[in-house]
Every structure is written in C-alpha cells, then in structure tokens.
Amino acid sequence: MKETNPALAARRKFLSKLGRAVTYAGAVVGAGALSTAQNTAAKSEPSAGGASFPTKDYDWTKHRWGYGVDATKCIGCLRCVEACKRENDVPGTAHHFRTWVERYVYLEGETKPRIDSQHDPVNIEASGSEKEYRFANRYKDAKVDKAFFVPKLCNHCTHPACVQCCPTGATYKTKDGVVLIDHKYCIGCAYCVQACPYGARYFNHEKQVSDKCTWCYHRITKGLQPACVEICPVGARIFGDLEDNKSPISQFVRNNRVRVLKPESGNAPNVFYVGLDKDVI
C-alpha cells in the first residue's frame, strides 16, 4: 500500500535511519569489544607510553626496579614509617599508610601469633600520638616463644589488580615496573583500594584521591633510594634495579630463597621477602 501520510512517512524514514545507525554502531562496538577483550584480562595491562619519564635524562625503559625485605633484620623501630610519612606527605593519622610494620608474637602455649602494627591503639598510647610510631612493650610480662617484624608496602605487582580495575587509567604501571597514580586524573572511586589484596592502598581524605607507595619514584628516578630504604638502620629494606646484576636487589634475590606475599592472588608481587613465617598475612 502506498504511503499517504507525509508525517508518518517522514517518521518512518527517520526511524529506519536511526535503526541503521544503531546497527552500524553495534557492529563497531562489537568489533572493538573483540579487540579490547584481549586486553581486559588481568595479565595484559599495557604500560604507559613514552620513552623518558618523569625527567628528560631518565629513561624508564632501561630499569626494572625491585624491592627486598629481610624480615630477620627488622627491629621494629618504625623509622621507615616516619620517613615515608614525611617524605610523601602522607596524612598523619593511624589510618593512612604507604608503608607499615607488623609485629608477630607467639606466646608460650599459644598456636596462633598475636599480630599488631603501629596503628594499634595500645601502640599509639605508648607513643603518645598518632604521628609518633612505636611498638609498645606489651609482652614484657609474658613468655614469648618467637617474635619477628614484617615491613609491608605496595608490592608493585607485575599484574596489579588495582591497575586492572581503575576505570580511568589514572593508576598505571610504568615501564620500569612501578605502579603509580595520577592524582590529577583519579576520580576517587576507591575501587583500587578494594581491589588490592595487600591493603597497600588507602584513600587520601586530604586530597580526595587514592594513594599508595610509589617506591619514592621522585627519588629513584634521580638515582636516590626510597626514603624507607635510606633510613632503615639495619638494612632490612633493600632496593635496586633488577636489570643490573650487581645491584643490591639482584644480589638479594640471587643469594636468598625469597618469597612473595599472597602469591595465590595472581598479582605477581615485586617485593621479595626473606624470613617470613607461615602465619604472615
């Protein structure tokens, strides 16, 4: 039957055009989805582009940073926590840390360790302030079977769950193996805070963005050590370039049997530990 109503005909034409546009758009999206699907798996996040970053005379393709912790050496002095807070402008509360130290104490007759960290109220009371860090001598009257400290920080994973889940790409992995956050691009959704299995990320309530350890990227790209490594009085924290066979971290990994935290997460951490116990979380 011939179309008689011009309004209907016009509308029909418009709708058929719309329908066609939607089909084409669907096809484009479908094709795009195929190619992006390969990139959405956790193991294939692309690194940020560019050859030199963050300064002109630093080539991030020439380094692969790594971090070691010798838990047998740590004395729990917490200078590292203080240095990190100062160096990186971390909020001075008991709830925001780029690095922290855990204390594991096995008391006689107990099978599970007692675990605390500098944020524990008893330890804060001992130090007198949230901004001072000290482990209280809380087990002085108990019989201790075994005790040790474990420094913790961002693991700068090879397959970081935090980078995978960031909806804007504000958090990314650099070519030299460091996971960074662009504070000017982060929308502050805290999805990455949820995704990190290690509790290494926190939401910075002063800046209203996510934050975490950068291995002091502003220092290491100038040939310096991260603040926590620099200040450690016993050499429990080791840092260096895994590309350099003679670097402290290469020697640490080579000369010790190292392990990582929560390997089952599939994140492939790059902080290597010596001296952990089975109960370390």
Partner: protein
C-alpha cells in the same frame, strides 16, 4: 565534630589501611536503586513483551518507575566519588580493563532506551494533549510529540513494532546492567565475601524481587490515593512473580554462602566469627527472617487459602514492603559486610554510618526519596493508569 571519613573500630588483626571503610552507605544505595530499575522493567516486560494481560494496570507505571529510579542511579556514585567533577573521565577515557569502565555507557544506553520506549508508549497522550491545549503548554506537548499527530491504526501498529523491539532489547539491557553491578563486586579477588561467581546472579534475582515489591507497594498506594479499586488479579499476579523469584534468590544466596563455608578457605574462621556475631541481626533476623521467610510464608498462605479482598491486599503489600527492606539489607550485608571482614582474614572492622555529610544517613534517605518525588510529578504529566493503557504488544502483533 564528626570525622570526614568512615573510621572503623576493629578486633583481631587488620591492615592499618583497612581501618577506614572505603565504600560507604552510598555504595549500598547504588545497587539498590539499580536493582529497583531492573525489577520494575521486568514487570513492564511481562505485559509489553510476554503479553500477560493481568499486568496491564501496572505496565506503563512500571516503565515510569524504572525511568525515575534510573535517573538517580548516578547520584549515590557522584556523592561517593572523591572527585565528582572528574566523573566523566571514566566515560571520556575509559580504561577498558576495569569492570567499572563501561558502566557509564551501559547506564547511558539504558536511559536512552527507557526514554524511547516511554515516548512510544505515551505518544498518543502527547498527541492528544497537543491537540487539546494551546499556548506555551501546547507548544511543549507538540514538541514532545515531535511534530507527528498520526494516531491511525497503521501508525499505531508501526509504533508497536518499535515498542516491542525496545522492550525486548530492554530485557537484556536492564538485567545486563544489574548483573554487571554484581560483577563489580564478584570479580574482586581481594575479598572472600565478594569474590563469588554467583554474585552477579544473586544481585540480579534480588533486583527483580525488589522491583516487583516496589511496584506492588506503589500500585496499592496509587490506587488508594486515586481512590480507585485495586485490580486483584494484577496484584495476585505480582505476588506470584515475587514468590517465584524469591525462591530463586534464596536458593542462590544459600548456595553462595554454602560455597564459602564448605570451601573453608583461608580466613574462614574470621568469616564464621562475623556471620555468627555482627551479622546475626542484619542478616539472619532482618534480611532472612523478617525480609524473606516472613513474606514467603505470608504469600504462600494467601495463595494456599485462596485469600482475596482486603486481606490479600494487606498481606501482599506488607510482604512486598518487607521484601524491599530485605533487599536493602542484602545490599548492605554484601557491600558493608565485605569491608567489615578485613583483607587479612584475621580481623573484623566495624562501620559506623554518619548522620550528616554527603555519605551520611540523611543524604542516603534523600537519594532514595528523590525518585519517588519525581515519580509523583511524572504520573501527573503522563498518566500511566490502565484506563489509558496501550494494548499488549504481543496482542498488537497478532
């Protein structure tokens, strides 16, 4: 003065950064509202796509309800974001590996679909209003009718074809959107409480029951306000749908929980400590006892006894209200519950909701109330009641 963020007290050993609850009550409200949208759309589809005539009295109303709630889905997210002014970054430069990156597109697509379908459904109304009114109001109606005043049988058949296509597309659209919300939680391997393959499905089914329950409450309320009799066949039909989907939801939630317990992976002792401690009231008593078992028992009784009249209305409406509470508690127990179990698997933290502030109790009440206010206005502009209803699209096609 209240702290600016959600500090949490804790027991056992927790990571220092775990002592702040990063996702507040706003992230409870967000899947709740999205779920209401999916559920309301389901009811509208039962009539518009599957031709179930008994749902005619609520079919158009369901569409308007879905739209009103959908418009407010971004609000809790924006209130939650640390940098809400940058929210569009996720849409302009989406990082495709993120389960969250496509949300803006999904939500945008679904809003457009809803608006289009509502436009087709209410086109005769726009045309009639445009012909009836003059002046600026008339111009507005004419603008809404997009210059077409053809209500011939042929034109209507053409409209129905589009409505049907949109309604069919809307089913995977609405359900996909909500399953996707479940995936945001279920895909996180960092928390045992969330990390479940069943999470998206659990979210989806609980969404459907919440939307059906919402429509029951709103339909009964609207009939009361309009002083018209309640269509008991429709109400009973909604009760059947509610009952059926609740069975699925309960089975799925039971399976999910059993999986966690039976697998008994690292940290299960702490999870059991949580389940048998802080979770007793919000989960076992409110979500399961008051919100699920009670309405199922009441509706089962009503169906078994063939109850009708006022008793049916009261029974079904009260049950629906309880289901709405139950699903809200389900969102709470998932979102807050997941964060109350520390990532160490060795400690529990304790969320204290603020009263004030953009992520406080008052703000969340406002976010939940806002869609109702918009709906109250919208039903006056676009009366969705049965006396005005479009024929079932199935019927229109035959």
């Amino acid at each position: 003065m209240e702290s600016l963020y959600d500090l949490a007290t804790y027991t056992g050993s927790v990571y220092p950064n775990d002592t702040v609850i990063a996702w507040s009550v706003m992230i409870v409200i967000y899947p709740y509202i999205t779920g209401l949208v999916a559920g309301a759309f389901t009811v509208s589809s039962l009539y518009h796509v599957f031709g179930m005539e008994r749902f005619k009295p609520v079919a158009q109303f369901a569409l308007l309800t879905a739209l009103c709630f959908m418009l407010f889905v971004p609000v809790p997210l924006l209130l939650h974001l640390g940098q809400p002014q940058r929210a569009m970054n996720a849409v302009l430069t989406p990082h495709w590996t993120s389960a969250m990156a496509a949300f803006g597109y999904f939500a945008g697509f679904y809003v457009i679909l809803l608006v289009l379908e509502i436009w087709f459904v209410f086109r005769p109304h726009f045309v009639r209003q445009a012909q009836r009114t003059t002046g600026p109001v008339g111009m507005l109606w004419r603008a809404l009718s997009l210059g077409s005043d053809d209500l011939s049988e042929k034109a209507m058949r053409y409209d129905h074809k589009w409505m049907f296509a949109l309604a069919v597309t809307g089913i995977p659209g609405a359900h996909g959107l909500h399953g996707y919300v479940g995936f945001i939680f279920g895909s996180l391997k960092s928390r045992e409480w969330w990390s479940s393959d069943l999470m998206p499905v659990v979210f989806l089914f609980s969404a459907v029951i919440s939307g059906v329950a919402l429509l029951i409450v709103l339909y009964v309320l609207s009939c009361r306000l309009r002083k018209v009799p309640i269509d008991l066949a429709c109400l009973k039909g909604l009760a059947y749908v509610l009952w059926g989907f609740m069975m699925f939801t309960l089975v799925l939630e039971g399976l999910e929980f059993s999986n966690i317990v039976y697998k008994g992976r690292e940290g299960i002792e702490t999870i059991m400590e949580y389940v048998t401690g802080p979770l007793v009231v919000p989960f076992f008593i409110v979500q399961l006892g008051i919100g699920a078992v009670t309405p199922i028992a009441v509706i089962s009784y009503l169906i078994w006894r063939g109850t009708t009249g006022k008793a049916l209305i009261v029974g079904v409406t009260v049950s629906a209200a309880l289901v709405l509470l139950s699903v809200l508690m389900m969102r709470w127990n998932v979102v807050i519950g997941g964060q109350e179990i520390s990532k160490t698997g060795q400690g529990l933290v304790n969320y204290h909701m603020h009263l004030w502030g953009r992520e406080g109790l008052l703000a969340s009440i406002a976010v939940i109330a806002a869609p109702f206010a918009v709906l109250a206005v919208l039903v006056r502009l676009l009366p969705p009641w049965a006396d005005n209803a479009t024929p079932s699209l199935q019927a229109g096609r035959l």
